[in-house]
């Protein structure tokens, strides 16, 4: 076989996997098979035989089929984008399908068959398109694409989260779907999916040869007469369809689409056609083996454990393994920035933003639902509500300022406008620690949870620092390490939620960021944190101006680059650690504020620090007002409201080109 350039080879690897799968399969099936081989029982209902024939066997076929389709989808995406990190999981396809299916579950719960497929397709397509829009500016560079994918995934998750919180009777069903359970009760879904796969597979193989040319580069392909643009689009559409069909029939199975092509490539399948075929084969075997192992190890009486959640937990570390392979040479090409002029007096812009934030604070203190209706509170009425309002608003403003600051620091540090505290893993670390404290220790008090969050984010920060130290805190490494941490957290949350544990909704509450009943103490801590860290960042504004120039120029000017990077990283990590327990990891304020400030033309480092902090506070204050006004007496989670309102705005900002 010409594909075998290395000793192992995908064929041999597949054989090995097949052997392992068969062995496990025999272990799992042996009792049932022995039963089936025995004499027919007299009783009318032989439940073991029924389960074997109509549940176990279709489940095995389903695992094989889903794995193969996901492997193929991943390989197609990677070839079309020339990006080894691309997969339905990493570019938002899965998250889109999940959200669309959740919405369908809410508004059209009786859908099945092709109806579900269409819903999943629409969601997957929309999310993927969004990711492409976001990373277009960076030329679909590996890291930027995955960052955008993560942002869109988190956003879709936030939307589903809000739905769940408000309409939580659907929670359990949604969560199981999100976690991807392979359990089957008839052959119908498997045969339906097989038909879909059979329709798409020949198309994928037809694309293999022209895709090989596209891998040479778009211009080169066009020179050879291949309509590269259209071909890429077709391949991506195909991959999205494959992933969406899988999501529609069993839910989200994470990371198989990333892992299978990576293994196929590592095993020596270098040509596109070989990669497509072997990715499908390996994907099928990997998912089947995982499913069998889950069945075997979990045992019949263990807690319910969806296979999709298991692949996600096992798969996210694979991202870490893949990272060193892509970070070199994947730096986004230098693109001209938006044709906007830098402001002559950036300080004035920062001042205006700060005044606006102050005005919003005052307005929110006075405005609200009073017993008599919505309006201004004065005198005694104001006195009555003030103790409830000020901690909430102070916490929102402080958290907003901290996140705005952290976002600005990270974007300057990485020279990437998609960098945000949500993606460096610090928020994830905080959330992770909160989860652990509740699920393992059973902590209940606000203080212990906040303490855990602080510890968790500092630990995550330390981890990221250690991981990135060897590369001199190279910004891309920091982002990618954070990415993997995030993926892992998401997987663990999905696992915990899918068991139906009622504590999951408390977890959702934290993710959502309820500020309503923040204690005065925490509010003061957050505000004090902002009051200390923002001036500290101002002191370091020279570094902020120099570091985006890159390592060599900054070092040539005498900046101690690694130390400067570590200091700023620690500063942003501390800011996130303080803000996350209050506002949750999903507000996206850290992404929004610096981008808004940039679009306003506030570029000078010092002014940008102030403006970004003020803008973050403003965004969260406005979100807070909205969260309290929209659904009285419900106080919606401020963090989620900020992201739901802010993210489309951000998207528009990133896309719209201001007239020069």
């Amino acid at each position: 076989m010409s594909a075998l350039r290395q000793p192992i080879g995908p064929g041999a690897l597949s054989l090995g996997l097949l052997a392992a799968t068969l062995a496990t399969g025999v272990l799992v099936l042996l009792p049932a098979l022995r039963e089936a081989a025995g004499p027919l029982p007299v009783a009318a209902f032989d439940h073991d035989r029924m389960v074997l024939l109509h549940s176990t066997l279709p489940r095995l076929v389903m695992a094989l089929l889903c794995g193969a389709m996901l492997g193929l989808a991943g390989a197609l995406l990677q070839a079309a984008l020339g990006n080894p990190l691309a997969s339905p999981t990493t570019i938002g396809t899965d998250a889109g399908a999940r959200l669309a299916l959740a919405l369908a579950g809410l508004f059209a719960p009786a859908l099945y068959g092709w109806g579900r497929d269409l819903v999943a397709l629409a969601g997957a397509g929309a999310a993927t398109g969004l990711v492409f829009l976001l990373s277009r500016r960076q030329g679909f560079a590996a890291v930027s694409l995955v960052l955008a994918g993560l942002v869109v995934s988190l956003y879709a998750g936030a939307l589903a989260g809000l739905l769940t919180l408000v309409e939580d009777r659907y929670l359990a069903g949604l969560l199981i779907w999100g976690a991807g359970s392979l359990s089957q009760q008839s052959w119908e879904p498997a045969s339906g999916l097989a038909i879909r796969a059979a329709l798409l597979l020949p198309l994928a193989l037809l694309l293999a040869r022209p895709l090989q040319l596209v891998e040479l580069g778009e211009d080169a392909a066009r020179g050879l007469g291949v309509p590269a643009e259209r071909l890429r689009l077709l391949a991506i559409a195909l991959a999205v369809a494959l992933a969406a069909f899988v999501s529609a029939s069993v839910g989200v199975i994470g990371f198989v689409g990333l892992v299978a092509p990576a293994i196929a490539r590592a095993a020596g399948a270098t040509r596109v056609k070989n990669r497509l075929v072997w990715s499908a084969v390996l994907g099928g075997l990997i998912l089947l083996l995982t499913d069998l192992l889950v069945t075997l190890l979990a045992g019949p009486f263990a807690d319910f454990l969806p296979t999709g959640a298991v692949t996600a937990v096992l798969g996210s570390p694979i991202l870490l393994w893949l990272l060193p392979r892509v970070s070199r040479g994947s730096a986004p090409p230098i693109k001209p920035s938006d044709p906007e002029r830098a402001r002559r007096r950036p300080g004035r812009g920062a001042l205006v933003l700060a005044l606006l934030a102050l005005a919003a604070f005052a307005a929110a203190l006075l405005l609200g639902h009073a017993p008599g209706g919505w309006g201004l509170a004065t005198g005694a009425a104001l006195e009555a509500v003030l103790p409830f309002r000020w901690p909430r608003l102070l916490a929102s403003a402080g958290a907003g300022a901290l996140l705005g600051l952290a976002g600005l620091l990270l974007q300057r540090l990485t020279a990437n406008p998609m960098a945000s505290p949500e993606v460096v893993g610090v928020s994830a670390g905080a959330t992770f620690a909160m989860v652990l404290s509740v699920f393992l220790v059973g902590a209940a008090g606000a203080a212990s949870v906040t303490g855990a969050a602080l510890l968790g984010s500092l630990a995550a920060l330390l981890l990221v620092l250690v991981l990135a130290r060897r590369s001199g805190f190279a910004p891309e490494r920091v982002l990618l390490a954070g990415l993997a941490v995030n993926a892992l957290l998401d997987a663990v949350v999905v696992v915990l939620s899918a068991t139906g544990d009622p504590r999951a909704i408390q977890l959702l509450g934290w993710l959502a960021g309820f500020t309503a009943n923040v204690s005065p103490g925490s509010a003061l801590v957050v505000a004090a944190g902002a009051a200390v860290l923002v001036p500290l960042a101002l002191l370091l504004q020279r570094w902020l101006a120099l570091l985006p120039l890159g390592f060599p120029p900054a070092a040539a000017l005498g900046v101690p680059v690694p130390a400067a990077r570590a200091t700023l990283l620690a500063l942003s990590g501390l800011a996130v650690a303080l803000a996350t327990p209050v506002i949750g990891p999903l507000s996206f304020v850290g992404l929004m504020a610096p981008n808004i400030v940039r679009r306003l033309g506030i570029q000078a480092a010092g002014a940008a620090v102030l403006a970004s902090a003020a803008c973050g506070a403003l965004v969260l204050l406005v979100a807070d007002i909205a969260a309290n006004a929209l659904a009285h007496p419900l106080q919606l989670p401020t963090g989620l409201v900020a992201s739901l309102v802010g993210a489309p705005f951000l998207l528009w900002l990133l896309q719209s080109r201001k007239a020069a």
Binding site: S337, A342, A545, G550, Q603
Partner: protein, 271 residues
């Protein structure tokens, strides 16, 4: 041959700016620098030549303290490179990397002003002297007229001048430039190198510049150094180097050298 005469006159230096001795540097088992040693004369423009992968950029990075050699020593102004404090070093030596960041969102005068960092540091005040130096740098390099434009919207040649202006604002006595004219068209190449030579001649700065084009090097440099496979294969004046046999050994391709029909300067081209 006026230029040759000039080169000869300038070739009577005092102490060298950089004294490089027996540098070795290997990456992943491959020797990038393999026993390189030479003196970089002060107050002159030295061109560093060599084919792709010969180690010339690496050599410049070692001089700029962007990389560390495995063994060997480099003295700058008589002191071991490692013994310099980074800000002191930056006050003496400016470095222009080959790959320049887009400097997104910075105006020309902002970028030039960043060159004053070694003088005021992270926390110091941006003094009147700093402002004066930055302004002078803009004037000398002729970037004054687009001082308020964003760097990433300039043409390639303009952007290169702005970065050089930043190095001038740095007030460094020695400039290390890594392929400053790659990807520029000919007229702009000459404009940039002309500026570089003027800086050396008029202000007595030392310049080391990595170049690809032997004829550009011959036209603008006082002194040439050539590398091949990480080894120094030539070190001398333009006259010493622009010879067919020597060039052939550098580029591993037969070369012809003829005098320029108008200026008489020697020009080389592959046969």
């Amino acid at each position: 041959m006026p230029s040759l005469a000039f080169a000869a006159a300038a070739a009577v230096p005092a102490a060298p700016a950089f004294a490089v001795r027996d540098l070795h540097l290997a990456i992943g088992g491959r020797a990038i620098l393999d026993g390189v040693g030479f003196d970089l004369p002060a107050g002159q423009v030295t061109g560093i030549l060599g084919p792709n992968g010969s180690g010339k950029s690496t050599l410049l990075k070692v001089l700029a303290r962007q990389m560390q050699a495995d063994t060997g020593s480099v003295l700058f102004e008589g002191r071991v490179l490692e013994s310099w404090r980074s800000r002191d070093f930056a006050r003496r030596v400016g470095y222009l990397p080959q790959q320049l960041s887009a400097a997104a969102g910075l105006t020309v005068s902002e970028l030039v002003a960043l060159g004053r960092y070694p003088w005021h540091g992270a926390l110091g005040r941006f003094s009147a002297l700093d402002a004066e130096k930055a302004e002078a740098a803009r004037r000398i390099t002729g970037v004054e007229r687009f001082a308020d434009r964003l760097v990433d919207q300039l043409s390639g040649g303009e952007r290169q001048r702005v970065w050089i202006a930043m190095l001038i604002a740095q007030d460094a006595a020695c400039l290390l430039l890594d392929e400053p004219i790659s990807a520029l068209d000919v007229a702009v190449q000459i404009e940039v190198l002309d500026l570089v030579r003027r800086l050396a001649r008029q202000e007595g700065r030392t310049v080391a510049v990595v170049l690809h084009d032997i004829n550009m090097a011959a036209r603008f440099c006082d002194h040439l150094v050539a590398l091949r496979g990480g080894r120094l294969v030539a070190d001398g004046s333009v006259d010493d180097l622009v010879r067919a046999d020597l060039l052939e050994s550098i580029y591993a391709h037969p070369m012809t050298v003829i005098p320029h029909p108008e200026t008489g300067q020697r020009i080389a081209f592959p046969r």
